[in-house]
């Protein structure tokens, strides 16, 4: 009779499936060897510069990974190689991302001074010194138009998604098809449509509302399709449970289905907003370009960040180009704040 007696002493939780320190060291060593070899390649061959070094680095990774698989335990070697390769791919994708942020911040930073966010360009021309003027008119205009566009588009988009997924109405297929077709509409066409209807026939002038409508048209397919995918994730047994309690379809949809995907719907909305926040072409045709801080969205042109960037860049002097980079900086920051705000809003009260 075999008996193993294990004393019930205090034991510590462990995770033997995680990478050990040794394997992490091996990985770093692998990267270091590839880096050294790449430096050698750059010194000897025609490859040059950081990009040349990077090409040599990836090449060395592949070669050493292949060679290593002969000498070490095959599974371990393959795992090491694949991990390093994926990390390298991640770094490669990160390069354009970091480079965009770096150049926008580096070239936009000189435009900032104490009053940059709080003054408009009413008495300043874009070629003047950088300690004058600002883009408060553009920030306010963009925020107002985004808010109106969200008010128009988010309810519409979610209702359309509910129609497709929950109601499964007779025209669900047609609605889905049209939404998909709409996502291919060029933004300037949306602008032209609003220009030829709202601007010419209704308002007889540029206006913030017209701009917001153009943005809403562009947002709608993104919001609808994302919301549709999110609603499809709700398992049918949740709906069944609600129906079995005697709830109507409307009660089921609004009290059970929508709350359970709240954060997903918020993500859908923010994706749509981020998609249109930087649109320039439709705004040039609908809200125009304006240099004075105004909150009048019903009548007359109104400033916005994309048109601010567009027009200052067009002026061509060194100061005006710097102002354009400053505008790009603010636009990036605005979208980032939108994202973070929406994520923290959606994360509260566990709603998936």
């Amino acid at each position: 009779m075999t008996t193993t007696f294990v004393p019930d002493k205090l034991v510590k939780p462990a995770r033997p499936w995680r990478r050990t320190h040794r394997s992490i060291l091996a990985m770093l060593g692998f990267i270091a060897i590839a880096g050294l070899s790449s430096t050698g390649i750059v010194a000897v061959t025609g490859l040059a510069g950081p990009l040349g070094w990077y090409v040599g680095f990836v090449f060395s990774l592949a070669v050493f990974g292949f060679l290593g698989s002969f000498f070490r335990d095959r599974v371990v070697a393959v795992d090491l190689f694949a991990t390093v390769l994926i990390c390298t791919a991640f770094m490669t994708v990160l390069i354009p991302w970091v480079s965009i942020f770096y150049s926008v911040i580096k070239r936009g930073a000189p435009a900032f001074y104490k009053g940059y966010l709080t003054t408009d360009m009413l008495v300043t021309s874009s070629g003047e010194a950088l300690n004058l003027g600002g883009l408060s008119h553009a920030i306010v205009g963009t925020l107002l138009m985004l808010a109106i566009a969200a008010l128009i588009c988010i309810p519409l988009g979610i209702i359309a998604a509910i129609y497709i997924v929950e109601i499964k109405g007779r025209f669900a297929g047609a609605v889905r098809f049209l939404t998909q077709a709409m996502s291919g509409v060029p933004s300037i066409v949306a602008g032209l449509f609003i220009y030829s209807t709202l601007v010419i026939l209704v308002f007889h002038s540029f206006s913030g509302i017209a701009g917001a409508c153009a943005l809403a048209i562009l947002m709608l397919p993104t919001v609808t399709r994302t919301a549709e995918e999110v609603l499809k994730l709700v398992p049918d047994h949740l709906r069944a449970a609600s129906y079995a309690l005697g709830a109507s379809q409307a009660q089921t949809t609004f009290r059970v289905v929508l709350p359970s995907v709240r954060s997903g719907l918020i993500t859908a909305s923010v994706l749509g907003l981020a998609r249109v926040a930087g649109e320039t072409a439709p705004l040039l045709l609908t809200s125009g370009y304006f240099i004075k801080l105004t909150t009048n969205v019903g009548n007359g042109a109104i400033g916005s960040l994309p048109t601010y960037i567009f027009s200052t860049l067009g002026a061509g002097t060194q100061e005006s180009v710097t102002r354009a980079w400053g505008g790009a900086c603010v636009l990036l920051a605005l979208i980032l704040i939108l994202f973070i705000g929406a994520r923290s809003l959606g994360g509260r009260n566990k709603g998936r």
Binding site: T2, T4, V6, D8, K12, W17, V75
Partner: protein, 281 residues
């Protein structure tokens, strides 16, 4: 042979429990755990379980809900680690080698330790034949004669007669009981040494349950089976050995393990007697 190896609670049981004389026949164990603990985050869910699973036998894991039976089962083929907060301690031996040793390949282990889940889960995009062959296909194992393997596995799972004329139908067209037997056939196709079953009959009707119990009985001639069940009668019917788990407001632990007939007729622990007679839990 199975021995009870925890010294979890009281001073009453300071020595490991001896199995009945009937089980004194020397038998090799296919799998063995020594001092297994499991955690989810800070929550200690399983404490110091040491068990041996004798070759070609059926071991039933019984106990009330939430006592760590399923967690224990999932530790045996390294499915526990898929839960992000999971942690463990102790050793699990398969053929004398710790399956949690550094560098051990979890995928290769799972080829040798198969699993059947609570709900039938045939791959919906595959036909019956493709479902059975999914294991060898996914692990790129060469199969000399696919037709024979499919017939062999389906026969051993007790499904061949019912599906032999429609092997190209999709798995989802079968009834629940047939789907579960298809999943057993799928698990058999990689020729595992050990088969883990996590309440395989809990979603099935009595007829299908009976059919699967017969299947388990036939399979135990050639492989080691560990089965979690909430059904006392089922444990009594299919298992050769039984291990009784209990949590008692703390981490789950092993109370008693022995031959099934001993557990059900003459258990050494009062709590086991109460549980198998339905007095609590």
């Amino acid at each position: 042979m199975i021995t009870m190896l925890t010294n979890n609670t009281s001073a009453v049981e300071t020595t490991p429990q001896q199995a009945s004389p009937a089980s004194e026949v020397e038998q090799t164990s296919a799998m063995e755990t020594r001092g297994i603990h499991a955690w989810f985050g800070k929550n200690h869910v399983l404490r110091n379980v040491s068990l041996q699973f004798p070759s070609n036998s059926v071991t039933g894991l019984i106990g009330p809900s939430g006592c760590g039976k399923s967690t224990f089962l999932r530790l045996l083929n390294r499915m526990h680690e898929f839960i992000p907060t999971a942690a463990m301690a102790g050793e699990v031996f398969l053929d004398g080698q710790d399956i949690y040793r550094p560098g051990a390949a979890a995928a290769e282990l799972r080829l040798r330790v198969g699993m059947v889940f609570q709900k039938p889960n045939p791959f919906p995009s595959m036909t019956i034949q493709q479902n059975v062959l999914a294991g060898p296909t996914l692990s790129k194992t060469k199969v000399a004669n696919k037709k024979d393997l499919v017939e062999d596995c389906l026969t051993r799972a007790g499904l061949w007669k019912e599906v032999k004329d429609r092997l190209d139908a999709y798995g989802s067209s079968l009834s629940g009981g047939q789907q579960q037997r298809l999943c057993i056939a799928r698990a058999l196709a990689v020729r595992p040494d050990v088969l883990l079953m996590d309440e395989p009959c809990s979603a099935l009707d009595p007829g299908s349950t009976l059919r699967i119990e017969e299947t388990i009985h036939e399979l135990s001639e050639s492989m080691t089976i560990v089965i979690v069940t909430h059904n006392m009668q089922q444990a009594a019917r299919v298992s050769d050995y039984c291990a009784f788990f209990l949590s008692e407001d703390g981490p789950g632990h092993l109370v008693e393990a022995d031959l099934t007939k001993v557990i059900f007729s003459n258990p050494s622990d009062q709590r086991t007697a109460d549980y198998v007679q339905g007095r609590f839990g």
